[in-house]
Amino acid sequence: MKKTKLGEFEELVLLAVAALQQEAYGVEIKRELESRLKEKLSVGSIQSALKRMEEKGFLTSEFGEATQKRGGKRKRIYATTSYAHKVLKEMKDIRAGLWEAMPVLAHELKLI
């Protein structure tokens, strides 16, 4: 991880982009996350996270097609960089490692 800072929400957005592939543009990402998180998200929060991560080098973007539904405005399709994949993988491994390190007893104790 080192210097890279990836917030919790940013990580979710990044994962959504990775999952949506060619469909990864603002509204679709919002829809995907809303359905998974089961809560309303604002365009502002999604967009600001996207721009931040683009600046940090986790994402690249390019304009996609324009639809009538969008008032003739083009979509911006986001794609994850290999660096993002590396960081996501690292985070997953760290989490997995921590899960494994958690003693079973403690887990059960917590259940009581």
């Binding site: 603002g26 919002k30 365009v43 502002g44 967009q47 721009k51 931040r52 304009f63 539904k69 083009r74």
Partner: protein, 886 residues
């Protein structure tokens, strides 16, 4: 879906969005919002969809999505400016000697300007504390000869001091006069409280309207009534402290002596204490006594248009108009003075002119000099210019050092404009540092300045909210003035030429540089010449034979004390018995002090009895011998002629001439009539300078009247003066113990008249020295630089056998030539200017050639000495070290 296409998102959130959102993101986000809007229309009502749209828009206000409002959108100059500052700083540190010369020179220059500014400000601030100052005027008195007031005043100076009845007459005649205040001439009075007795010499008898006209602040007492009743007295704070310490002075009694010719002795009631009179007042006092005290003692004077002892000031009301007042003066005079032969007239002076722009004589206090203000302002400017020239010369001379930098900057795309800005910025940085230095210098030098001028200076005029702005503006202006030319020279280099290395060291700039050095040195030499002339003239004034003995002359001032005059014979006999005292005399006046004027009728050369006015010194019997005055005709008063005490008169040569006698012997034996006394002129003394040497000797009469004396003068032997003074004091306290023994020396008293000239001399010297010092700093810098450039040349010359002398000459001759040219320019200029200055003295030194020779020599020596440092250093340098680099 297409069914909803005619429903659009609301207008204003969209406009707002376009306003704040970073344009890079606009298309994408606008599209997103529209897509969501369309979905929401399917799900909710159009209204709710619109509301949601607006809500989403507001939630888009996030820092990283905003337009860059604060920064120019295109390009960030910050690193470039940072680089400029870094380079400027490095240059300062790299060439410490040049930076020192520049900063200290400019710093001293700015500091001198500030100090001179404070001085000028102080001179201009006189009497500006009176609230109604612009409506306060005073009357001057004079005689009309041509009908044109301005011409009259020039031919025959008007007096501020005049008669009393003019005051009430003015008030009656001119409705536009609001309040009149009259006060007596400066008086002396002995005041006693308990065991404390002091002779107060700053006393005026003043009308009760004084505080309506002038703004002197009361601490205790009522301004309206304080000076109403006879024998009421108002003290300044420091006078009150002197008599009463910390006690309340109000309502206390001060025993006052007689004030000769003005009031009888009596007990004065303190009716008020006022703050000390501000330093910048054109007259000062410690004590005010009600004018009614004077009126009670001598009421007849207040009706007499011929008796001169009053100053008349008034406050005009809103309708007051100077011109219409002046037009009405002739009518006013005719109405009040019935006599058509009388030439008496009055003139008007505004309060704002009374300190600097008055020509009238007999002022109530000191006056300033407008020409001094001009002279010092010009000197201040000169010093600053000299310092700026240093900066220009050093920057252009060293331009080669920066040439490569300029070449590189230009080849990577710097425009000349931005380079000019860079170099101007550098000069502004240097001026800023100089300003800091100047602030320090001003703070340190201010007490000295006060000591030099005898005036209190404070930093208050500089400590206002405008001050930082002003300082900032000054930094910019001086920076631009000094840096303008170097910036253009430096930024004008052609990059190709510079980088190829085919630049010669600014040949054209060399001429300008030389011209500037010549200019600098011309100014300095003019200032040196001025200093020498001021010194010689002051020396001339102080050492001139005045025609009377002023050395070892002890003067005791007893202020016309009748008892002392009664004892004068025994004082004289007792004192003259002493070995250490050669003679003692009593007189109403001594040279250099106050004297009245009298109208004297004497038979003139044509045999008519003619009345003329001239100063009068009432003297004791042996005044003439005592002061060693030379008799040119007739005899002096003598005990052998008892009638001398009532019917004899001695006068001076000028007076004899006044009555038309070219040969003074002819006036002896002629009839005279003066102040109710008739008799014959018995003798004529040679003219002696009883007033300052600014003025010519005027006619003077010396009537014999021992009982109007004010001063005892004691001529003592130069050995053991302290012991002799003690001896005189003992005799004094034995015979007239009630009167304090106040003594001074005649030569000191007489030289008091040159106080302002001495101040001028000292200030002038200080600033002239500063100017030449700064010019030399610049010369040193230039010499150092030229020597550096010629290191190799000198090395080669030495190897080929040049000796030290040749090399020193080689390096110095260039500059010495410039100084010689400067001398040629400076001499006529300073000759002319100093001639004007000397015109202010009736007795002036000759401006002889030696003065200019000496000034030139001093300049050459100072310049030569300055350069020699560097040239000797280069001359003794081992050629190996200068040549091995190649």
């Amino acid at each position: 879906m297409s069914g909803y296409a005619d429903i659009h998102p609301p207008e204003w959130p969209l406009k707002f969005l376009r306003f704040f959102l970073n344009p890079k993101y606009l298309e994408e986000i606008e599209g997103d919002l529209e897509e969501i809007f369309q979905e929401n229309i399917e799900r909710y009502s159009p209204g709710k969809a619109r509301r949601l749209y607006a809500y989403e828009t507001l939630k888009l206000i996030r820092p990283n999505l905003l337009k860059k409002f604060m920064q120019p959108a295109n390009f960030n100059h910050y690193p470039m400016y940072k680089n400029y500052i870094k380079i400027a700083w490095r240059n300062l540190l790299k060439k410490k000697a040049y930076s020192f010369i520049n900063i200290s020179g400019l710093g001293l220059g700015i500091a001198s300007c500030f100090l001179i500014f404070l001085f000028v400000q102080h001179e201009l601030s006189y009497d500006n504390y009176h609230e109604n100052g612009e409506r306060i005027y005073r009357i001057t008195h004079g005689s009309r000869s041509t009908g044109d007031a301005a011409k009259d005043a020039k031919a025959n100076p008007f007096w501020v001091w005049g008669n009393a009845p003019v005051g009430p007459a003015l008030k009656d005649y001119f409705p536009e006069i609001d309040k009149i205040v009259q006060f007596s001439g400066r008086s002396d009075i002995l005041l006693t409280h308990g065991d404390k007795t002091y002779q107060e010499d700053g006393v005026f008898f003043m009308d009760s309207t004084a505080f309506d006209v002038f703004n002197w602040k009361f601490i205790t007492g009522d301004a309206r009534t304080a000076l109403a009743a006879p024998y009421s007295i108002v003290l300044t704070q420091s006078a009150a402290k002197k008599y009463f310490g910390d006690e309340e002075a109000y309502g206390k009694i001060l025993k006052g002596s007689e004030s000769s010719g003005r009031s009888a002795a009596g007990d004065y009631v303190v009716t008020g204490v006022i703050e000390d009179i501000p330093n910048n007042s054109h007259f000062h006092f410690n004590v005010l006594i009600s004018l009614n005290t004077f009126r009670k003692s001598r009421p007849e004077i207040f009706e007499n248009w011929g008796y001169v002892d009053f100053y008349t000031y008034f406050l005009g009301n809103e309708q007051f108009n100077e011109r219409s007042f002046q037009q009405k003066i002739p009518d006013f005079i005719t109405k009040n003075i019935g006599d058509s032969d009388s030439k008496y007239t009055i003139a008007l002076e505004s309060l704002k002119d009374v300190y600097l722009r008055t020509n009238a004589h007999r002022q109530p206090g000191e006056t300033g000099s407008l020409s001094n203000i001009y002279i010092f302002s010009i000197i201040g400017l000169f010093i600053l210019i000299i310092a700026m020239i240093n900066f220009m010369n050093l920057s252009t001379a060293r331009s080669m050092e920066r040439a490569k930098e300029v070449g590189i900057r230009k080849s990577i795309g710097a425009a000349q404009g931005s380079l000019v800005l860079q170099f101007l910025g550098e000069s502004i940085l240097i001026v800023f540092l100089a300003m800091l230095l100047a602030a320090g210098v001003v703070v340190v030098a201010l007490p000295f300045m006060s000591g030099l001028t005898g005036k209190e200076f404070t930093l208050t005029p500089l400590l206002t909210w405008q001050a930082p702005l002003l300082a900032f503006a000054l930094i910019i202006i001086i920076g631009i003035l000094a840096g303008f030319y170097p910036a253009f020279v430096l930024s004008g280099f052609k990059p190709v030429a510079v980088l190829k290395g085919i630049m010669h060291n600014s040949g054209g700039g060399g001429y300008l540089r030389r011209a500037l050095v010549v200019f600098q040195f011309s100014l300095s030499i003019a200032l040196i010449t001025g200093t020498i002339i001021v010194y010689t003239q002051m020396d001339h004034l102080q050492n001139r034979d005045l025609g009377f003995d002023k050395e070892q002359m002890l003067i005791v001032d007893y202020n016309y004390d009748e008892i002392v005059n009664y004892y004068s014979e025994s004082l004289k006999n007792t004192l003259e018995a002493s070995q250490a005292i050669s003679s003692v005399a009593f007189s109403r006046s001594v040279p250099g002090s106050y004297f009245p004027n009298a109208g004297t009728t004497i038979e003139n050369a044509d045999g008519e009895m003619k009345m003329m006015v001239q100063p009068i010194f009432q003297v004791g019997i042996d005044f003439v011998n005592h002061f060693n005055l030379e008799l040119v005709a007739g005899r002096s008063y003598s005990r052998l002629y008892p009638s001398d005490s009532t019917s004899a008169l001695v006068l001076n040569e000028a007076a004899a001439k006044q009555y038309g006698y070219t040969n003074p012997a002819d006036i002896v034996g002629k009839k005279f009539d003066q102040w109710g006394r008739k008799g014959e002129v018995i003798g004529v003394v040679k003219d002696f300078n009883y007033i300052s040497l600014h003025r010519n000797i005027e006619p003077l009469t010396l009537p014999f009247d021992p009982y109007s004396s004010r001063y005892m003068s004691v001529k003592i032997n130069p050995e053991n003066m302290d012991k002799t003074i003690k001896e005189v004091n003992e005799v004094w306290s034995k015979l007239v113990p009630h009167r304090p023994f106040l003594y001074s020396f005649l030569d000191n008293d007489f030289n008091q008249q040159y106080k302002s000239d001495l101040m001028f001399k000292q200030l002038f010297t200080v600033f002239a020295c500063l100017a030449i010092f700064i010019a030399c700093l610049g010369l040193l810098g230039l010499a150092t630089y030229t020597a550096e450039l010629r290191t190799k040349e000198i090395g080669i010359r030495k190897v080929l056998g040049a000796d030290m002398r040749t090399i020193i000459l080689l390096l110095s001759s260039d500059f010495i030539k410039l100084v010689l040219i400067a001398i040629i320019i400076a001499i006529p200029v300073s000759w002319y200017v100093m001639k004007e200055w000397l015109a202010g003295f009736a007795y002036r030194m000759e401006m002889q050639a030696w003065i200019f020779v000496v000034a030139g020599l001093i300049a050459v020596l100072i310049a030569g000495f300055t350069i020699s440092f560097q040239s000797i250093k280069s001359a003794v340098m081992n050629p190996v070290s200068s040549l091995r680099n190649e």
